[in-house]
Symmetry: C2
């Protein structure tokens, strides 16, 4: 190859060019996330780097190549199947049967670039602009952002420490339907909810399923935290309780292994899956990570969880013990999660920890203010709440960071 | 964890559930691509598995871990930056400067899930439904599918064996503008075009840039084949000839390494980049592949290209020699690419190799009929043309497959 020719100097024509009239009406000039992290980073949403089985993943990739390099090469050399790598879909089907008690074939699973892509595809297949969508009153802002982008009118359903309250859900559906705003579907994170940390009991799930059938309302079940349980009993997936197609099941390897792998998946009724995949941009997700994940989890899932979850529990215990020590007399309450990544802190009514978030961040403690998770985005509630991720920092830093948080809240008049 | 509860039997309520009224208006029930391959697979769009440096990629990943496992772990443990892994962006900036002669910083590059995602993001930032978009008269159907999905009214610009004809381009812009259909932007694959195999000369690029400035019309430059040149001189990128922001530059590691890695990128003026990234679903692309690619290419780009491109040339030579032998007397013509993956076969006017494509596939030879690449999708042209990928099959299979193709065309009355 020869070198490229030198570029033209600043031509006079350059001055005339402008994008002013060219941007699409839907485009928005949005600042990039600077990706900053506080010294005590409770604002994250994932486990710590040291828990990531990087050597194991690479060894699994190498082992797959050593045992059948032709096959691995052929998979990487082709554009991935729209559903993603077959081996990881087969493994996922086995894992769902073993862990979640329902049976799907590999061809009923679509791998995606994280569960975020899965949710976006399903949302697009089910949502017309203006459609009412129900969800927990505080819920993962990544999903509410997608729902809003595709025009959903999001309404939060009343919760208690056990998650969505079925009776409240049905009352709300009836009232909305009477007002001409029949809800289209329910999005829920039933296990170790983000941000509240709550888990729906099997009894509530059955009640919610009955309500969903009565109102012909699909349930979009986001089960991405189910592998991160360290105490108590796992509750049955909505999908395991119902084979009718009313449940769309979404999950991920991001929390169990690493977000940077970008591998999630979903399963739904065949026509809904085809319609959802019609919104896909490009082919299936990266095969490189898929081969590594499949090889690693097939041999190490149990030992990985056995190492991982006690460590999560130690981190959670450290954070809640520090909350007891430093917030015990403040009138604050906090959730008691049985897994997942989050403790939900509620300061007394009237306390505002939302407006001081940036100052506290600069002084060393990161958290996400509750208002950011508000389902309807009205900005009316959650100012006295925060999501604290206990999974990322160490046991020691969880304790230190909570002590500093109390000190900073006092300094800023929030407690 | 305890086992999930047994699922409910077939409940009576199940029968009442239906998605009939729930699918969004934009959703379409689209069959999945079955992903079939003919014995002689000239319908693909990528190099062969044996060229993929899988061991090198894994070794590079392992080397990155060995030299700084904390850093690699931290990158995988966090959700990727919206722009993707910093190291690969830094490497990409260096590669663009060395290979393409223009300077951008790592923060002016966004890594994406293949170049398909990059194109979709830019298209969304620039296209309102009904906007006229220009492109080569035959062009990559993945891009025309995206353009159509976001409402573009695509018009093909006349080409010869040297690609887009600048005079024809300007005449078309003037005529469209006079008719109230001012073109919004031009999408082009200037180097080893897909499917035609043509390369625009530096002189034509300069002429097209002047036209673009006169009409305030951005150029979306898809440079994904530039690394695959095995003879002749590389032509300057549009982006290297113009610093004004009018050029959006998109490229990929899919062709140089492997499609299954799903890593492409783009660079554009800052506001356009922000607006394009606003359409992103989820975070940056997978870090696992990014770390492997950066490590591998930083040490092996030259040797990889030195091995890779002579092999591509041998494959192309084998296919064109077989075309000469078996199609030389048929009145057919074919392109003489200097790189890339494709030979464009044109049978005599009136010959229809589009309608017999499925039969020929079943009998052992896969190709994509020219009509599939028609810019305006009218179905009027290209029935006597085919894109033949010479990069995927071996030298021997290229020769055998073309011999069989001639035999099958005769059998089906196409020559």
């Amino acid at each position: 190859m020869t070198a490229a020719e030198p570029r033209l100097g600043p031509a006079t024509m350059v001055e005339t060019f402008s994008y002013e009239t060219l941007y699409s009406e839907k485009s928005v000039d949005t600042a990039l996330n600077p990706g900053l992290h506080a010294k005590y980073d409770f604002a994250t949403a994932y486990p710590a780097p040291e828990t990531l089985p990087l050597d194991g993943l690479i060894q699994s990739l190498q082992a797959a190549v050593d045992s059948n390099s032709t096959k691995v090469l052929a998979e990487l050399a082709y554009y991935p199947h729209q559903l993603g790598a077959l081996e990881l879909r087969e493994y996922t089907a086995q894992k769902l049967e073993a862990d979640r008690g329902f049976t799907v074939t590999a061809d009923e699973i679509a791998l995606t670039n994280g569960s975020g892509e899965a949710l976006a595809l399903v949302i697009q297949a089910l949502t017309n602009p203006g459609d009412v969508v129900l969800t927990e009153e505080f819920v993962y802002m990544g999903t509410t952002a997608q729902l809003r982008r595709f025009g959903a009118d999001i309404r939060g359903v009343a919760m208690d420490e056990g998650g969505i309250i079925p009776e409240e859900l049905e009352e709300q559906i009836v009232a909305l339907t009477a007002a001409g705003d029949r809800p289209k579907y329910l999005y829920t994170i039933p296990e170790h909810q983000n941000p509240m940390g709550s888990t729906l009991s099997g009894e509530r799930r059955r009640a919610i399923l009955e309500i969903a059938h009565r109102h012909n309302m699909p349930i979009l079940e986001d089960d991405c935290y189910v592998d991160l349980r360290y105490k108590g009993d796992v509750q049955p997936a909505f999908r395991a309780l119902d084979d009718s197609g009313i449940v769309v099941y979404v999950a991920s390897f991001s929390k169990l292994l690493a977000p940077g792998l970008r591998l999630g998946y979903f399963t739904a009724s065949p026509e809904l899956m085809r319609r959802a995949l019609g919104f896909k941009i490009g082919s299936g997700p990266n095969q490189f990570a898929a081969v590594a994940i499949e090889g690693y989890l097939r041999n190490n899932l149990e030992s990985h969880r056995d190492n991982f979850n006690p460590m999560l529990q130690a981190k959670c215990d450290s954070m809640t013990a520090a909350l007891e020590e430093h917030f015990g007399d403040s009138g604050a309450t906090w959730s008691a999660p049985e897994g997942g990544c989050y403790v939900w802190l509620t300061m007394p009514e009237g306390s505002d920890i939302s407006s001081i978030r940036d100052k506290v961040f600069d002084q060393g403690v990161g958290y996400v203010a509750g208002v950011a998770f508000e389902a309807d985005g009205s900005g009316r509630t959650g100012h006295n709440c925060a999501r604290l991720c206990f999974a990322f920092e160490s046991v020691e830093k969880n304790a230190e960071g909570i002590a500093l948080l109390a000190q900073l809240f006092k300094q800023h008049g929030a407690m």
